[in-house]
């Protein structure tokens, strides 16, 4: 049973990734990328890594993909935006991702009906992860925080001169 669910979500992940690579429009690719990440989240759940599955959905498919959406929307400003949005809302664009999402949702329902962890073997709950994270891996947590700080400073520095450029354009 678990193996069947694993095969279905693997097929969804691979298909969504192939579709993501071959899309010409970045937003269409983003839709399929989100589906691929959600399928990976279900695979994490089937593998018994519940904490990682939740993080995959919240941070990967939530926060990081929202960054992509913001940047794509910022780069696509112009007069032709309305026609573009009308073209994006064609049914054949969102039908594929919706079907894949429906498959994943059906899998989730099957898992819930089966009673949570459907014989997933080694279930590693968040308590074990937390104990290991703040025990032997404390240095790694510190390094990750330094990395995030470096990313924050780098993104701020890269974003700052952008305001100057637009201001100068506005004055001239």
């Amino acid at each position: 049973m678990v193996l069947t669910l694993f095969y279905i979500s693997s097929a969804v992940a691979i298909f969504a990734t192939v579709m993501m690579i071959t899309r010409l429009n970045a937003v269409h690719g983003l839709l399929y990328l989100i589906l691929s990440l959600l399928a990976a989240g279900i695979i994490f759940f089937l593998l018994g890594a519940h904490f990682a599955a939740v993080l995959e959905v919240i941070i990967y498919a939530g926060a990081i993909m929202v960054l992509f959406v913001f940047v794509i929307m910022m780069l696509n400003q112009g007069q032709k935006t309305i026609e573009q949005e009308r073209a994006w809302l064609q049914p054949n664009i969102w039908l594929g991702p919706s079907l894949l999402a429906l498959i994943l949702f059906a899998e989730l329902m099957v898992i819930v009906v089966l009673g949570g962890n459907a014989e997933t073997g080694h279930t590693i709950n968040s308590q074990q992860v937390g104990i290991a994270l703040y025990g032997p891996y404390l240095l790694a947590v510190e390094l990750a925080s330094m990395l995030l700080l470096a990313g924050l400073v780098g993104a701020y520095h890269l974003g700052k001169p952008l305001v100057k450029v637009t201001k100068n354009r506005g004055n001239t």
Partner: protein, 102 residues
């Protein structure tokens, strides 16, 4: 013992990684290159989760957490760079940014 064989999980991870690599090599849009990089990072995280599930240890999920923070930092800096390139060159084509004649 786990119901999902480790080999099949690792195979899926390899397939996703190669697909992301193909995306990085083939696509010339900077946003698409960054998205393909996300696929590659996600595939490595999947490999860690599969290994952690196989041995019943929490280390796999911790490595996934670290990969997650790496992906977040990488996307922040990478999208900032993409915005800068777009505002200076008015394009997102990676091949058009070849003014640095080494």
């Amino acid at each position: 013992m786990n119901a999902i064989p480790m080999e099949q999980g690792l195979l899926l991870s390899v397939i996703l990684f190669v697909l992301g690599l193909i995306g990085v090599l083939v696509r010339r849009n900077l946003i698409m290159i960054l998205m393909s990089l996300e696929v590659m990072l996600n595939a490595t995280g999947l490999a860690f989760i599969v290994a952690g599930s196989r041995w019943g240890q929490a280390d796999g999920q911790i490595m996934f957490l670290l990969i997650l923070t790496l992906a977040a930092a990488e996307v922040g800096v990478g999208l900032g760079l993409a915005l800068q390139i777009f505002h200076r060159f008015h394009t997102l084509d990676a091949d058009s940014v070849n003014e640095m004649q080494g």
